[in-house]
Subunit: 249 residues, 4 copies
């Protein structure tokens, strides 16, 4: 179970990350391009270490005003450099606290575009490999582009599914601009989580059943119902006897 954390900026904070650190096993820390700032990163790494969760980088496009959710045309070489920059910055905080990064999960539009675009996925994977060959690359479970890019760079790939997001029939995430994209009912999210973890299957938005083999489950901290969802998901998984563990190097 992973959760995105540290997504405030300066005086602007977004809820309280700490309760999530007690529920998730791995966290993805914003690196300053779509959210987060150096001081938040420093404190969030310290809090994650106290909580004993695996620490990963959550790099995004340079887009504070759009929270990294604006898709954009990219120069792959530029994206590669921007991701390496962000992961390197967070890695310095992890090392300074006596820890190491275990994984990298792209954020928002970078996540979604790389899931579709093999060239962008490769640039992303190259940046992660350059930051550390032992890092796990986390990406959309249904994305062949991401899986192949990780393989081509010799990285382990963690297929990610979402407990609290609706799926389209092709295994892609329903866009946040569409109604019903985000699940707000903890029980619904928990059921989706169990189906994903136990059966490798999920119901799509229109009702068809899709096969989705996932290594990690995301819950969202920026969802108003996020904490209740995270708790319900964790309890439901444990009730099914499913072991939840952290990423490791």
């Amino acid at each position: 179970m992973n959760v995105d954390v540290g997504e405030g900026l300066g005086v602007w904070t977004v809820g309280n990350d700490l309760p999530f650190l007690a529920i998730a096993t791995s966290v993805n820390i914003a690196c300053g391009f779509h959210a987060g700032d150096p001081q938040i990163m420093d404190k969030t790494v310290a809090a994650a270490m106290d909580a004993g969760v695996a620490i990963g980088a959550h790099p995004g496009f340079r887009d504070l005003h759009g929270f990294g959710r604006r898709e954009m045309t990219t120069d792959p070489a530029e994206v590669e450099a921007e991701v390496l920059y962000q992961v390197g910055a967070l890695a310095a905080f992890a090392r300074a606290h006596g820890s190491r990064l275990t994984h990298v999960k792209p954020h928002g539009a970078l996540y979604n575009q790389a899931a579709r675009d093999p060239v962008l996925a490769r640039a992303l994977a190259s940046a992660v490999r350059r930051a550390g060959e032992e890092l796990v690359l986390v990406g959309l479970a249904s994305s062949l582009a991401m899986r192949r890019a990780a393989e081509a760079e010799g990285l382990r790939f963690a297929a990610e599914a979402f407990a609290d997001r609706a799926y389209e029939a092709d295994g892609s995430l329903r866009s946040r601009r569409s109604p019903g994209a985000v699940l707000s009912d903890p029980e619904t999210a928990a059921r989706q989580a169990v189906r994903l973890a136990r059966d490798g299957r999920v119901a799509s938005w229109e009702g068809s059943e899709i096969s989705l083999s996932a290594d990690t489950l995301c819950v969202h901290g920026d969802n108003p119902d996020g904490l209740a969802i995270a708790r319900a998901v964790r309890l439901a998984l444990e009730a099914e006897g499913i072991t939840v563990s952290a990423f490791s190097r």
Copy 2:
């Protein structure tokens, strides 16, 4: 001999760094806060390695519009985090190219404020120590604050003098806002460099002679006459039999 490089931004470039890499022995690479961007950092690290010079980080205040030259009130904890962030980002590029950083030299207003302010100097030195205990901290030769902060954090300190900047009688740099702050004549700069390196002395702006023990000499790439000055300084030092070498870890 060190020089600041990589100080462009996106489409905005500032001259050509390459010739300086053949003259200086160490370079300080901008880290994206006052100038520089990830792609420029990536390319500049590669070019520095090709040239065989020592690679250092050149972190600054978050101030692209003011090129990091605006002095500002600071929260030391925030500056510490911002410096660690920048040094960590550049270190990732160095490692990705198979190299390591040797030193950190603060930029502009951060350099000048830390030279005067022991609390800020300590925050800066703490960030550098957290980024790597073997890193050399470069600071104004006359600054007790910087020297003591480096010592307190167990870092080696490299006292820096300037071949192409005028000095005040107290050993501080004459402000860029004052006339005569920047020397533009290569021969004058070369003479100042030799006096500094050979005698540990320099003439101040009003003419008094000051003692200044320096470990490294800076020449400026953003000075229109920078390249001619850098060449003249290097030749003059060699003509005096002074060995110019790079920072090492």
Copy 3:
């Protein structure tokens, strides 16, 4: 009574401005440099017009990460241009909604530095005059620099006092970095407001009584107790028979 509003950024919002629009008579809208973004400005102007309050610009230093609270060395010509830019941008939204700006109140460090520095105050007043000669310049009541700068540029000056901030004996605001700088008890703030409005006097932090002639009273929207304070202040003023009115051109 005036209140600072529209101080969110992209996904980051800060409470709810709407209740304040029903209590204050004039609002100061952030212009994108320390907080605010074009869409927030557009919506906040519309909401202010619906509420029938006077609309003013709240320009700040270019400092999103520090919320415009970092004091910095400034080039007066640059500050003048930056203030004119921000006021012009907000004025366009006001005109587009069929309204006009009535006043300009600088934010944070710009407010405090200009209160002390006649050169900066003059640059600020010049920007306001260039944006519109009929605009009221709002500044710290005890600041001679601001009052004289407004006069020199032919602008009306509105001396501002604070219901919810502690004062030093010289009439300056107690720094937010010092304990007790912000009053959180609505009754205390309301008493301070009445003393200011009725008697032109206020008790300083150490207890001395200071004379402070004020034209407008500020309450803060970013104070967690802000709404209760604003209500208490308004009620207390009305209970004293003091008429609260908006700025006008």
Copy 4:
């Protein structure tokens, strides 16, 4: 004849705009989002007035690092607000110098996306209309989306053609990422300008002849050969007896 000017940022300047002001009849001034800053805007407006050219706004996406050339997914309401913000800011400088804006020409990716996307074009035209009904909206000559959006908002539309850019067979501009996108030979550009202005026709990149009715011709200041091209274009037009005039309100 129009030219984009004021596209530096802080210490980073881009050549010298002044010679272009003596050749073009209308200028489009960057507004701080893709390039430009308030001080540059202030000085550029003053220089444009001295030169007697028509002053227009050149708003772009918020993208300094990509110079506004990154296409991105947009929220039309956000783009509308961002354009109104930028135009309003520049209008304040124009009024402060005793002048008024005559036109608005979007920059880079905003220009190209709006040329293809009727919804974005309408958001852009709405922003311009809200900034001033008498403003001319400048857009790609072949874009029906832009022409119709201008009409729907009651704005005059100026169809723009390019002397120094290659065209695709559909009348769109050849992408800057493709070879041959930018013409560097002054004589070639001058011939293209004359064909456009006199005959309303231009040869496409593959050689087909396309019909293109244009009201204004753009030359580029950021093209290394820009000045020679601008001079050649102006001389060639005058040699053909074609009158070159400025936008007017």
